[in-house]
Every structure is written in structure tokens, then in C-alpha cells.
């Protein structure tokens, strides 16, 4: 009798687990015809833990906390620098209850993979936040300034290896842009691609490469702890509270932001788009979002409408040019 009870109990356990599993996937996938204010799905075109995942979940949290949307879900469609997510998103024609996280990385990935779906196929909603990349060398390196680095780089591009994120990432594009700017053939740059910031970071700490390109936030502590030396950052002006000179002020006109923002599905009506624009305004105003910006060290770069569209156009143009220069 006892074994029978245990059996039925364990069966019950299995059923509970199965139903919970189903519910998780179902909740993430189902949309329905309800309005965006009632139920919203934010697609993060990255795996859990990726940059867009964190970004989408911060937005989800902000929307929930101010009660702007009753039910917000984040769904992950990872792959190929976000282009897998994009190619699925462009098929969601008219879905007024879905937003997708996007950004500079996706533009690079589209160019690199010659993706069929592009930013032209989606409705641009807003740019929300920026991250910047920084050029670093190990603390024990002889190179002390950007000028010295560039001098060494010019002398022997092959020997001056640079570690950074995957091909097409901001790290990679910035390397190409800086090379172009100082008169080095970008295709000669010896760029060592790593699949994640963490891997690139250890390689820099291990002194495998001469230099490294990385998101500032990923290496900020290593810089402060004296393990890495920052030579230049890719922002327009110096960031408040960050004692790293920009490329621009050192005479290299390379400004590049790892921006993140939102787009809507193709074919949504003007009214639907307005709902999204109102929504991102509400996110931007919320305490929760201000908190998120500070916590993640994101720079507020809120931008909507025509301004945002022009920005994306110019980004695409610049990216095309760099990718061509890198010989990809």
C-alpha cells in the first residue's frame, strides 16, 4: 500500500513539473488579440543572460512597477547576433502586442550575415540606453597611452593583436573604425574574436594579446583594481565619473555606442505605434528605469521619432562601410 501511495505521489510530482514546464513555455509564446496595455510580449533576441535579455527584463520590471501594462512577458529567441530573432519578428506582421529589443550589435550582425530581414522591415520605436567600448592593455604592458598603442600598431599590425567580442560586435567594429581613422588597413588588424566578454577578459588578463576592446562596464572593475589600463573610450565626451579619455579628444575620430532600444512588428497601425511610444516614455520617466540605468552603468540616450530613424540610418551606413573595410 505504501509503495502505491509513493507511486501515485511521484506521478503527481511528474505531472506538476510537466504542467509547470508547459505553462512557462506557453506563457512566453502565446500572444492573442488583447491590447498591448493588457498583455505585452518583449522579445529578447538573445539567450537568458545575454545583453538584450538583461535589457528586456529591466524594461519588463519598469513596466510592471508603474502598472503601465498588466502582464509583461519576456521571450528569448537567441542566435546569430540577434538576426534569428529579427527574422522571426518580421513575420509577426501587425502584432500590436509585441516589442523587440534591438541595438547596434544587431546592425553589425545583419551586415555580417547578409541577413534578409533588416532594420527597414520593422517599426523603429526608441533608443533607450548606451554602453561604450574601451581600448585596454594589461597593466604590465609597456604601452601607456593611445598614441603609443597606435605607433606600435602601425609599425606591425600583425603583432599588435587585439582581443574582443565576436565578429560584428561593437568591439570588432570599433577596432575597424579606429584602424581606418589612423591609416591602418582594417583588414590587416589582427583581431582575436571571443564569443563572450568574459572569455575576452581572461585572455586580456592572461596577456595573450597586446590589447583588448571591451564594453566599459565589463572591465571597469579590472581597470579600477589596476589589472588593466584603459587607453581610450568610444563615447562622444568623457563619461561622468569615468576617468578615461575619449578617442576623439586624443585625435582619433571614432565615436561608437553600443546602443539598445525597441522596435515594433511590421505593419502595425499609427495608433498602435503611438501606444508603444507612450509606453517607452513611461518607462523612461520611471524611477525603476533610472535605477536600472545607474545599476548597469548605462548612459541615458532616449531618442524617438524622426531623430531615432535618422540615427539608425546613419548607423547602418557607418557599419556597412566598416564591415567592408574589415574585408568580411
Amino acid at each position: 500500500m505504501v509503495s502505491k501511495r509513493i507511486l501515485s505521489r511521484s506521478l503527481y510530482g511528474v505531472v506538476v513539473v510537466a504542467v509547470a514546464g508547459l505553462a512557462f513555455t506557453n506563457a512566453a509564446a502565446s500572444g492573442g488579440e488583447s491590447s498591448a496595455r493588457n498583455k505585452l510580449v518583449i522579445m529578447a533576441p538573445a539567450s537568458p543572460g545575454g545583453g538584450w535579455d538583461g535589457f528586456a527584463r529591466e524594461a519588463q520590471q519598469a513596466l510592471k512597477s508603474i502598472g503601465a501594462v498588466n502582464n509583461v512577458q519576456v521571450t528569448n529567441i537567441p542566435g546569430a547576433g540577434g538576426t534569428i530573432g529579427l527574422s522571426q519578428f518580421v513575420q509577426m506582421t501587425g502584432r500590436h502586442d509585441m516589442l523587440m529589443a534591438t541595438g547596434g550589435v544587431m546592425i553589425g550582425a545583419i551586415e555580417l550575415a547578409n541577413s534578409e530581414a533588416t532594420m527597414k522591415d520593422v517599426e523603429l520605436v526608441a533608443r533607450m540606453s548606451d554602453d561604450y567600448a574601451v581600448l585596454v592593455v594589461p597593466a604590465k604592458s609597456d604601452i601607456k597611452t593611445l598614441d603609443e598603442f597606435i605607433a606600435a600598431w602601425k609599425k606591425d599590425p600583425g603583432k599588435t593583436s587585439i582581443a574582443g567580442g565576436s565578429l560584428g560586435s561593437i568591439d570588432h567594429l570599433l577596432t575597424g573604425a579606429v584602424a581606418q581613422e589612423v591609416g591602418i588597413d582594417p583588414s590587416k588588424a589582427n583581431y582575436i574574436a571571443y564569443s563572450g566578454g568574459g572569455e575576452a577578459l581572461t585572455s586580456m588578463l592572461a596577456g595573450t594579446t597586446v590589447g583588448g576592446m571591451s564594453g566599459y562596464n565589463e572591465v571597469a572593475d579590472q581597470i579600477e583594481a589596476g589589472n588593466l589600463r584603459a587607453l581610450a573610450i568610444s563615447s562622444e565626451e568623457r563619461l561622468p565619473g569615468v576617468d578615461v579619455p575619449t578617442f576623439k579628444e586624443q585625435g582619433v575620430d571614432a565615436v561608437m555606442a553600443n546602443w539598445r532600444g525597441f522596435v515594433g512588428a511590421p505593419g502595425i497601425t499609427e495608433e498602435d505605434k503611438q501606444v508603444f511610444v507612450d509606453m517607452v516614455h513611461e518607462i523612461h520617466e520611471s524611477e525603476q528605469w533610472k535605477d536600472a540605468l545607474e545599476r548597469n552603468n548605462w548612459t541615458d540616450s532616449f531618442m524617438i521619432g524622426k531623430e531615432f530613424e535618422d540615427y539608425v540610418d546613419s548607423e547602418i551606413e557607418v557599419t556597412e562601410q566598416i564591415v567592408k573595410g574589415l574585408g568580411l
Binding site: 510530482g13 538576426t83 574574436a193 592572461a206 583594481a225 548597469n296
Partner: protein, 509 residues
């Protein structure tokens, strides 16, 4: 001893009745997603994240600790019982674990696995508490050349022991390498074997391959024999379910050996827990051969379960150390946890212990508490889970199929993954039919890309100079050990065949 005081303070913060409830919840959830094929603890932490925003930091950490280790406790369960491991970290413990289950020792195998996971996690967390700064130094000693040496070392150390027929082993290895090569090549951006499908740009997920080959392949295999060979698919529980003193005496060295393999691997950001679990399994198999242990590979050896499980959790333990001290996310789960820590103003990295000391110690204390809770829970569950085998086959394997498909779909909601799952499942079925070993496929999938990428990285950095491959103490040591082992094996092989020849002559004469 300063650390000890700080840790005790951490315990006093973490141990409240309410927090114990949170850790229990986390442990249950972690175990559940661990058991389900395909779902890993990364998914669980991501889902939990919004809930924890409203908790106080201590409660959140303690819940994460439960989930983090829970996934590793749970993933071997389905592997041992049904030959369908929930995650790639549990592949190695499945081989012997399932053999034990077939011999009616399911509960004992599960208990061994739980104890192994506990010991591995406990020792690893202890190492983190006392030696976090030293770990950091070790991690930064690894460049591409060192990784490559490590991959070559692991390749030979593992593959020579998991296959009995060289030809069949090579066939399996080839299948694995082909599967691993699909996708965009990282160093050059070249697209390989994707058939023009953008969904394949990131390659085929190791989870899809594991679940397809082991879970679905097993289901098809059982289905093909269910009417012809009823005895082959029936498992009768026999023997005592609990671990006895002689079991523990037998398993203890294996637990410790496994932990020793796992500890260093958590810190280096490549490979994950698969490599150490396989190394641990390989060592046990080799030792069993030397000892003349007939249980290994036949009715299932308790040591073959103990070592890989300990190795897996030891890796997870030191990975947490790397996460805290370096800010290095060595796994997807760790990457999400970084986000969670930042929520409470904790920035993992070299300055963490100075900036937010008390919170870190509370977190470390939480990890210990999580481990104890999980051990107690899983020891109870072992007996209960084993009863699952009493469910009629057709229901059970239909259930596995559903869960496998569900788990794989949950990773990235891609239909293509399901087709690949089915394809790999068929391959797994055919391989079982012709008795081609499955382990080399998975070894190739894990080590192949690691070896390739790191070799090319090393050569790119050195601009083609192969000297970089043997330019450091670590690489030279690894290759030397390898050369010695190979020479020793060859010598023994020659002597054995000579002796066999002499014996044969003696008999003839």
C-alpha cells in the same frame, strides 16, 4: 581564520526560518528544471529573477543558491533512471548510473549521485571561501595555447577509455565532429554546413544533441524492442536502496577524485562541466580495469556514478568563485546571476570583497545551506524517484518523449531544433542498433570546437609560429604527462600481446 569569522557572520545573516523556506523553494525548482531534459538552471534563474526583485538580498541569494546547485543535483536523475540525461553535465554519470538502475540499484545510484554532488559542491565552495584570490591567478594563466593543450589532453585521456572498438569509436567521433562543425566559424566568420539556414548560424546546441542522442535515441530503441524482447526493457528493483557503510567506503575515493578533477575547471571559462565529468569517468573506468572490477560496464559501478557527479558540482562550486572574484560568467547561469547581483549593488569582480563584503559572505553561507538542503531532499527523493521505474514502459517513454521535445523547444522556441532533435534521435537509434558507442560523439561535440578555436587563436596571435603551443610551463607539463602516459600504455600493450603469444605457444606446445 579571518575568513572563518566572516563566514560565520554570513551564516548568522542567512539562517532564518523564512530564508530556509526560500532555499527550499529554490532547491525544489532547481531540481525540477534539472530533471527535465533540456531545461537548465539558466532558464530557472531567468524566470526567478523578477520574483527576487521584491525580496531582500539575503532571501534572494539563498534562493539562487538553491536553484544553482539544484539543477546539478537534478540533471543526473533522469539519466540514471531512464538513460536520458537532463543536461550535458550529466552525460558521464549516466553511463554507469543507468547500468546500476538496470540491475535494480536505481535508488542506490541516485543516492550516490546526490552524495557526490554534495561532496563536490561542499569542497569547491570551501576552496572558494579560503582561496578565491589564488583561483584568480590560475584563471589568468590560461591563454589559447594552454587551452589547446588541455583539449588535446582531455581528448586522448577520455577517448582511449570509453571505446572498446577503435573503428566504432572513430565513427562515433566523426559523427560528433561533423555535428560540432555546423555554424558560423568564430575566428573567421565563415559559414559552415548550415545549408543556408540562418537558424544554424550559431551551431547545433549541445542540449539538442544530448537529448536527441541519449533520450530520444533510447526511446526509439526501447520502442523497437518492446514486443520482441520484453525482458530487456524491464527493470526490477532489487537490493537495498540506502547507501551502506561498504558502499560509502567504495565510493568515497571516487567522490574525492571527481572533486579534484572538477575544482580547477570551474575557474577557466571554457569547457564547462562536461570535460571534468568525462575525465573523472575515464579515470574510474581505467582504475576499474586495473583492479579487475567486473561491475564496471556490466552491472554498473557505484564509483562510475560517484566521480562524475562530484566533478560536475565541484566545477559549479569554483565557477561561482570565478564569478565573484573575477566577474567572469563561465556559464549562462552565472551570466544571469551577475545581473541579479547587480540588482543589489554587488558588482562581481576584483573589488567585490572590499566593496560589499558582508553580502558576499552571506551568499557563500547560502551556498553551503543550499547544498545541505539539497542533500537531504535528494536522499529522500532517491527512493521515491526509483519508483518511477514501476510505471509501465509505454507511459514512461511516451512521457520522456514529450518532456524532451518540450525542453528542447523551450531553449529557443525554434521548430528547426525539433527536426534536428528527431534526426539526431534517429542517428542515436541506429548507433545503438549497430552497437556504436555514444560517448565519443559527445566528447567530440564538446572538445572539437574548443580545440579548433583555441589552436587557431594561438596561431593567429603568434602569426603562424607553432612554437607558441609549447611556450609555457602549463603546456609543457600537460604534453609531458600525455607523452608518458602514451608510452606507458604502448609498453604495457606490447608486453601483454607478447605474453599472450607466449601463452598461446605454451598451450600449442
Amino acid at each position: 581564520m579571518e575568513q572563518l569569522n566572516l563566514l560565520l557572520e554570513g551564516f548568522s545573516n542567512a539562517l532564518t526560518p523564512m530564508n530556509l523556506l526560500w532555499v527550499l523553494l529554490g532547491a525544489l525548482l532547481g531540481t525540477a528544471v534539472g530533471v527535465l531534459p533540456g531545461l537548465g538552471s539558466a532558464m530557472a534563474v531567468a524566470l526567478l529573477l523578477p520574483i527576487t526583485f521584491s525580496l531582500d538580498p539575503t532571501a534572494a541569494f539563498i534562493m539562487f543558491a538553491g536553484v544553482y546547485y539544484g539543477g546539478l543535483f537534478g540533471d543526473s536523475t533522469s539519466g540514471i533512471l531512464l538513460n536520458t540525461p537532463g543536461n550535458s553535465s550529466a552525460i558521464a554519470s549516466t553511463f554507469e548510473g543507468h547500468r546500476m538502475a538496470r540491475s535494480g540499484l536505481a535508488a542506490k545510484a541516485l543516492a550516490t549521485a546526490a552524495m557526490g554532488a554534495f561532496i563536490g559542491g561542499l569542497l569547491a565552495t570551501t576552496v572558494v571561501v579560503f582561496f578565491a584570490p589564488t583561483l584568480v591567478k590560475l584563471a589568468t594563466a590560461f591563454g589559447p595555447a594552454e587551452y589547446f593543450a588541455l583539449a588535446v589532453f582531455a581528448f586522448l585521456a577520455i577517448s582511449s577509455v570509453v571505446s572498446d572498438s577503435i573503428v566504432k569509436g572513430l565513427v562515433a567521433l566523426g559523427i560528433g565532429l561533423v555535428l560540432a562543425m555546423v555554424g558560423v566559424d568564430g575566428p573567421s566568420g565563415t559559414i559552415r554546413y548550415t545549408l543556408g539556414l540562418p537558424q544554424l548560424f550559431d551551431g547545433i546546441s549541445i542540449v539538442v544533441i544530448t537529448v536527441g542522442l541519449l533520450a530520444l535515441g533510447e526511446v526509439l530503441h526501447i520502442a523497437s524492442r518492446i514486443h520482441r524482447d520484453p525482458e530487456a526493457v524491464k527493470i526490477k528493483p532489487s537490493g537495498r536502496p540506502r547507501l551502506h557503510r561498504h558502499d560509502i567506503k567504495k565510493a568515497l575515493p571516487a567522490w574525492l577524485r571527481g572533486t579534484a578533477f572538477g575544482l580547477p575547471f570551474g575557474i577557466i571559462p571554457a569547457g564547462g562541466s562536461e570535460v571534468p565529468t568525462f575525465l573523472a569517468y575515464g579515470t574510474e573506468k581505467r582504475l576499474a580495469k586495473r583492479r579487475g572490477d567486473i561491475e564496471f560496464g556490466q552491472i554498473g559501478s557505484i564509483r562510475g556514478v560517484a566521480a562524475p557527479e562530484a566533478a560536475g558540482n565541484a566545477t559549479a562550486g569554483t565557477a561561482m568563485g570565478a564569478l565573484l572574484a573575477l566577474g567572469l560568467p563561465t556559464s549562462a547561469t552565472a551570466a544571469i546571476m551577475i545581473a541579479a547581483f547587480q540588482q543589489y549593488g554587488m558588482q562581481p569582480g576584483p573589488l567585490l570583497f572590499e566593496r560589499s563584503g558582508p553580502m558576499v559572505w552571506t551568499l557563500l553561507a547560502s551556498l553551503f545551506i543550499g547544498l545541505v538542503i539539497l542533500l537531504v531532499m535528494n536522499m529522500q527523493f532517491a527512493v521515491l524517484w526509483a519508483k518511477l521505474l514501476l510505471v509501465p514502459r509505454h507511459y514512461l517513454y511516451a512521457g520522456i518523449t514529450v518532456l524532451s521535445v518540450l525542453g528542447v523547444y523551450a531553449i529557443s522556441a525554434a521548430l528547426l531544433d525539433l527536426w534536428i532533435l528527431l534526426g539526431v534521435g534517429l542517428v542515436g537509434f541506429v548507433m545503438r542498433r549497430y552497437e556504436i558507442p555514444l560517448a565519443p560523439v559527445l566528447i567530440a561535440v564538446i572538445l572539437g570546437p574548443l580545440a579548433e578555436t583555441e589552436l587557431r587563436r594561438a596561431l593567429t596571435v603568434s602569426e603562424g609560429d607553432a612554437g607558441i603551443l609549447v611556450s609555457s610551463g602549463i603546456t609543457i607539463t600537460l604534453y609531458s604527462i600525455l607523452a608518458l602516459t602514451l608510452a606507458f600504455t604502448a609498453y604495457k600493450h606490447v608486453r601483454a600481446s607478447k605474453k599472450a603469444k607466449e601463452d598461446a605457444e605454451l598451450i600449442n606446445a
